[in-house]
């Protein structure tokens, strides 16, 4: 069944969407969109270093993205530049550094476009295995850390005071982000990874009454975007990664349209 390239693409994309949904919810809730973008941009540096030291590219991207997030957290702790400026500096510096390094390594031929915008139609069975194994691990850890992460997102002092160790949860969350960026690179590419985190989560908001429901709906919205985007891509010969993002965006726009508004019970009693 996995011999067909299109089936492999669907399976890989759906696997990624399932993981990206809940993780993306936290990115949206914690207003970390730019943070995620910065980590993703650093992935190209990971690719370059992966080629340089001849290690698996997914592993290289994971290490560099995780390192970038740790550097960011450390710089944030110091007074000085605002987080916003820090993110802007790191985001583009790491991307540029990656591009320059790749250009220097004249002995290897790299299809830069496939890293920047993804090459989901070329995923191998090994890629699928990595996506599903990595994805399962990420999901398991996310479920395990759900309560402290959610509490810390609502209020970090409450979480700390009530004994949930939010610092640790946040650190692991960064590693999970790095892992998802590493496995998502092949699907939508470095430049579009954060969209797969944020757009389905934003789409899900409208239909969710609890954080948990939003996580599930985000996964579903992501899966729908992958299937829709890839089908369009196959039919009209459009680039697959961007097609997925466009499909996700269309779903988001649809979620904004006025449906019969379902007010949560209890809201009627309020003025």
């Amino acid at each position: 069944m996995l011999d067909d390239f299109f089936t492999r693409a669907i399976v890989a994309g759906v696997g990624l969407a399932v993981v990206a949904g809940p993780l993306g919810c936290f990115v949206v809730w914690r207003r970390m969109a730019y943070f995620g973008d910065t980590m993703a941009h650093s992935a190209l540096l990971g690719v370059a270093l992966g080629f340089l030291f001849e290690i698996n590219l997914t592993v290289g991207v994971f290490i560099v993205a995780a390192a970038a997030s740790i550097v960011l957290l450390m710089l944030q702790r110091r007074d000085g530049l605002s987080t916003d400026a820090l993110l802007g500096i790191l985001s583009h510096s790491t991307l540029a550094l990656g591009l320059v390094m790749v250009a220097f390594m004249s002995w290897i031929r790299i299809d830069l476009m496939s890293f920047l915008f993804g090459d989901i139609l070329a995923v191998s069975k090994l890629d699928i295995a990595i996506i599903y194994a990595g994805g399962a691990l990420v999901l398991a850890l996310l479920v395990y850390l759900w309560r402290p992460l959610l509490a810390a997102t609502v209020n970090v002092d409450i979480a700390e005071a009530e004994g949930l160790k939010p610092e640790r949860a946040r650190f692991v969350f960064m590693l999970l982000m790095a892992a998802v960026i590493a496995i998502a690179m092949k699907v939508v590419g470095i430049l579009l990874i954060t969209s797969l985190l944020i757009i389905p989560a934003a789409t899900a908001r409208r239909f969710s009454a609890t954080p948990e429901a939003m996580a599930v709906f985000a996964s579903l919205a992501g899966m729908l975007a992958v299937v829709g985007g890839l089908s369009t891509s196959l039919r009209f010969d459009t680039p697959s990664g961007p097609s997925i993002v466009v499909a996700a965006f269309i779903l988001f726009l649809l979620s904004l349209t006025r449906l019969p508004v379902r007010r949560p019970p209890g809201m009627e009693t309020r003025r």
Binding site: A161, E162, S208, T210, G266, M267
Partner: protein, 279 residues
Amino acid sequence: MLQQTENPAEVLVEMHNAGIHRARRWLVRGVDLTVRRGEIVTLIGPNGSGKSTTAKTAIGVLKPDEGTVKRSRGLKVGYIPQKMSLDWTMPLTVDRLMRLTGPLPRARIDAALEAAGVAHLKNAEVQALSGGEFQRTLLARALAREPDLLVLDEPVQGVDFPGEVALYRLIREIRDRTKCGILLISHDLHVVMKETDTVICLNGHVCCRGTPENVAQSAEYQTLFGARGSDTLAIYRHHHDHTHLSDGRIRHADGTVGDACDGQHDHGNHHSEKATPDA
């Protein structure tokens, strides 16, 4: 009802000469503070005097840079922060907020929401609550979790005056019901003082401490807040011993519910009552 006034009650948290140093200056220094079970300790002081810092140090959110902080083993802390900004994108109902840091029995959630007068908001989105409703919800959360030590950082901020009185009543009720110790941060001395056992007046260090009356009359306090603070001290002498429920019935301070407010019945458990000066 409260034996702890007679017997020395269990010490929940004890700070000794604690200080927090940040960005090359001491935010607060030399704080000695003890909260016992059933006791209400109020921190007062001007803005930037280190009240929040002291409270966060007491519960372990901040680690002291000098001095010691000892908490009793297995201390269960309830914390109500000064501000909470919740992103609109998080779908969070009052009911879910109650269970934020740990599971709670359904009946206990309902009872706590009822006691705090926000039972009708159970399924409302947290972001849609008014300031007073939000504070009541957080107090309901504290009530349901039954902490050993409840820390409230300016709980009446953004709440109108009747709401303020009601919130302080609720805080006292929580203390009476759960027998917890309470560390309260306040910028306005006069309303809260009545229920407080010990007032600690901060201004980067401990200016003065004692019973509300002693503090209000102390020279240090009057320098810090002006004489007006002590004038207004006894205005709210708690004739409000009942709550008007949404269905028109009356809930009295002792928890009974009736059809009329039969005036002032004795709370019977306020150690500070006898010492309250008349206005």
